[in-house]
Amino acid sequence: MASRKVCVIGAGISGISVANDLSQAGIDVLLVDKNPYPGGQSVFYGCKATDECVRCGVCLVREAVATLKNQSTAQCHLSSRPVGYRAAGGSMELDIQTNPNLIDWQACVECGRCLEVCKEQAIERVPGWKYFVNEKCTACGKCVDACPVGAIRLNRSAETSTMQVDGIVLAAGYEPFDPGINRKWGFGENPRVVTGSQMENLFFQEKYLPREAESVAFVQCVGSRSVMEGEKHCSRVCCAYALRMAGRLKEEFPELKIDFYYMDIQRFGKNFDEFWKQIQGKINLIASNPISIKTDEQGLPVVRYESLPELACREQSYDVVVLSNGITPAAESESLADLFNLDLDAAGFLRPTGNGTSVAGSRVFTAGTCKQPMRIDDCVEDAATVARRVMKNLGVRQ
């Protein structure tokens, strides 16, 4: 049987998992991602384990990235995006534009010397993967001299290549909701108001909160289930990550006062009941949706909310307010929909058909959060299903 080639667009947890599954079945995989590193959003999320693992799934991402590195039939096209697509008869043709990728990841030996010489902190590392250059780079060239294997080249130009593929998997992921679009959240005005995604990055760096913080508020459903903001869907992940974060913070700072503003708690994970019982004793649950977040004279954020039993408006100030922002469709969703001629649902997610493809009869599949909000472990399970469907479609048997 001739070798089959599948292009996976998006190297987040879904894309990588699909690529790994396909690659293990001997299918050639092209993994395309706009970032100079694989892993997508969740690779910079942090572990939320308290005494025991709370199954946030972040290490699944590390595992997937590390597996990808040693996958012989998977090629990674980083800093790349699809720009053209033609389907005629049985063949599919894809144009991929690759932007200058400063560190050739295949040549990099992970010695870390570039990191040592860089004064701009422009070189970062993805756990389980390698180094990449971020936008702080001034092209001073010090790292080029330091690299013992010549893996860094500056001033490369963008190029576009065309390739024939037998199947396409869209795993374009999501965009965290930006609470800055509505002033009521006070985001962007007060640095002590942070989003859940920013909090994830702090967890990743194991920084959590400023040491002197005494109180923190989590505000749920920011950009989810809100008709006003046009995001009517439930993001399915926020209760999970916010409650897990709260649990972890309580362990790190036992004296911390944690208030949790919510509409409804959504179940998550396989042992939710147990987790829920434990967490209820640790944090203060307030069934209310805050009206606004302002800043007081000391510069602390103040949460204004409707206290339901008394039906009165109340205010409470905190050291830090975490806005649990939800999942919204990726910025690329629309352009991908245009490129591949796909439908978007009311919320703007790619709409899959019953057999996993995006358009009936086509060989364009969708995986992960580009079709609906999902948690990390759901993404991995979904990827297995998608990989299976791709293989069935391509006629690959065991």
């Binding site: 939710f272 829920w276 039906l311 991995v380 299903t385």
Partner: protein
């Protein structure tokens, strides 16, 4: 000093600490009791074929950075030098020595210690000549509900033959039946498709004998007939629902059954959710579908009492909206009081959002979801399959290192709602992913036993069965003739738990025996 072990190190000159001082290390290793010779390669990852020409030895201890492994150096070395597992060891010198310690003396000391220690392990290990065990290309599916049927159909395109065990429990798990309300006859259709498929043989559960775990997989006989062999088992039982915890109330199964039989449901109907435990969104989805069907068929007054609006399923929010438009009354409750005199209910509670109290008197029917779990016969099957049961229920083991469908028993894959709550779409997707997991096991080359497989010293074994009890994988069996414990080589994962627990110190892990490990630790 033995000459058989050669240590081969990359000089690590890329590291900001490097390069390693080969002369120093050689001098210190001269006193070594295990490592006979040290070769330090200059940039081992560059042009490895040429570098490997300098290397020769019976057993080789490699050390380098993680990139050296990634570059394929070690697999090339194994191939070129003809080294089998047990004849070579690889240690990541960079992250566990060079980057772990600060001073150069500490690095050197620990590097020498590491080489000594691993040299000890290598000295006592043997090259492996294991042949892969070929599994039977048959699969047994336990369960004939939506998940079992879906899995059978997914598999029918593969070069595997499938035996399906038709369970005694009717395939009427809540999810499936609500699905059936939307697409009536779905289960019937699937069943007839499975029955007519040439790849699938169907057996009734009543005829199923005990499942034995053997080297090549599993054996079962049906109706006392010949033993049938399987390479893997897919455990896909239906869940069953416990009765409602109130006299006169229905559980969901009772409701769905009546709906399915198109019997009228009228009057004031109260759904009482989140009572003993939180009702999951998958169940709420089914309830909302059922509510829609009731409303379409008759003029019932529907109340849905719940603690939380669970909407974390795609499309669930829309179902709530539709139900509301059709006149279903949703009430969030707190401090619920339930008076029940043989089916005459008085329900009072408070709405936490408005603080107002509410009262529902004498509803025509109260519906309380029962806790769902595996039926007694499914639990029984789970037990014979060696699946781990916690608090009398099957709980899918979780760890990031295992596939979602893998159970604790290698070769037994769990599919469908036995793993947790799932809606119809979820079950269909899971049937695809269980086949994916099956592929990881049913590779044509067969399964090669792991390097550190448990081995039992028959002279020391007192046949106390401690290992059989503690093995997480159900991989320790009984050799009835010789009266000793005996591992199932295709199931053993080499974790060493049995060796640790054995009271007679009769179990050792191959190439990692207890004495060697202790000696290696001393050498650090």
């Amino acid at each position: 000093m033995s000459d058989s072990i050669v240590a081969v190190l990359c000089d690590q000159q890329c590291s900001s600490k490097g390069p390693l001082q080969a002369a120093n290390l050689t001098k210190r290793l001269a006193k070594s009791s295990t490592v006979g010779k040290l070769i330090v390669l200059d940039k081992a990852c560059q042009d490895p074929e040429k570098k490997l020409k300098k290397v020769a030895g019976q057993k080789i201890l490699f050390g380098g950075c993680p990139y050296l492994e990634e570059s394929g150096f070690y697999s090339l070395a194994a191939e070129k030098l003809g080294l089998r597992p047990g004849e070579m060891l690889v240690t990541d010198v960079k992250s566990s020595i060079l980057d772990l310690y600060d001073s150069s003396t500490a690095i050197e000391d620990n590097l020498i210690g590491r080489l000594e220690s691993l040299g000890r392990l290598l000295a006592d290990s043997a090259g492996l000549k294991d042949r892969p065990v070929k599994l039977k290309r048959n699969v047994l599916i336990f369960g004939s509900g939506y998940s079992g049927l879906k899995a059978a159909l997914e598999l029918s395109g593969e070069k595997l033959s499938v035996d399906l065990v038709e369970t005694e429990d009717p395939p009427l798990a809540p999810g499936c039946l609500a699905e059936g309300l939307v697409c009536p006859g779905l289960i019937k259709e699937l069943t007839s498709e499975v029955r007519t498929s040439e790849h699938v043989a169907v057996f009734p559960q009543a005829q199923m004998g005990p499942i034995q775990s053997v080297e090549k997989g599993f054996t079962v006989s049906f109706g006392g007939g010949e033993l049938r062999e399987y390479g893997a088992v897919i455990f896909a039982p239906e869940r069953s629902e416990a009765p409602a915890d109130q006299i006169g109330a229905w559980n969901l199964t009772q409701l769905y059954k009546r709906l399915h039989e198109r019997r009228p449901i009228k009057g004031r109907i109260v759904f009482l959710l989140d009572r003993r435990s939180e009702t999951p969104p998958e169940v709420i989805q089914d309830i909302l579908i059922a509510a829609k069907v009731i409303k379409e068929r008759s003029h019932a007054e529907l109340w849905i009492l719940l603690k939380q609006m669970r909407v974390a399923l795609p499309g669930l929010q829309e179902l709530y909206d539709t139900a509301r438009e059709m006149g279903v009354i949703f009430v969030k409750y707190e401090n619920l009081r339930l008076q029940n005199e043989f089916g005459d209910f008085q329900i009072t509670g408070e709405d936490p959002q408005t603080g107002a109290s509410f009262r529902i008197s004498n509803p025509d029917r109260v519906i309380i979801p029962g806790t769902s779990g595996l039926s007694a016969s499914a639990l029984n099957a789970a037990e014979t399959l060696g699946l781990r049961l916690l608090n009398g229920q099957y709980t899918q083991p979780y760890s990031l290192w295992r596939l979602a469908n893998e159970s604790n028993h290698p070769g037994v894959l769990v599919c469908g709602s036995a793993r947790g709550n799932m809606d119809g779409g979820g079950v269909a997707a899971d049937a695809a992913s269980v086949v994916q997991a099956l592929k990881a096991r049913m590779i044509p080359e067969g399964i090669t036993p792991v390097e550190h497989i448990a081995s039992v010293d028959a002279d020391k074994c007192v046949y106390c069965l401690t290992c059989v009890r503690v093995c997480p994988y159900h991989a320790m069996g009984k050799n009835i003739e010789e009266r000793v414990a005996q591992p199932v080589t295709t199931a053993c994962q080499g974790c060493g738990i049995c060796a640790a627990e054995c009271p007679a110190e009769a179990i050792d892990m191959r190439n990692l025996s207890r004495e060697t490990v202790l000696a290696a630790m001393q050498a650090l």
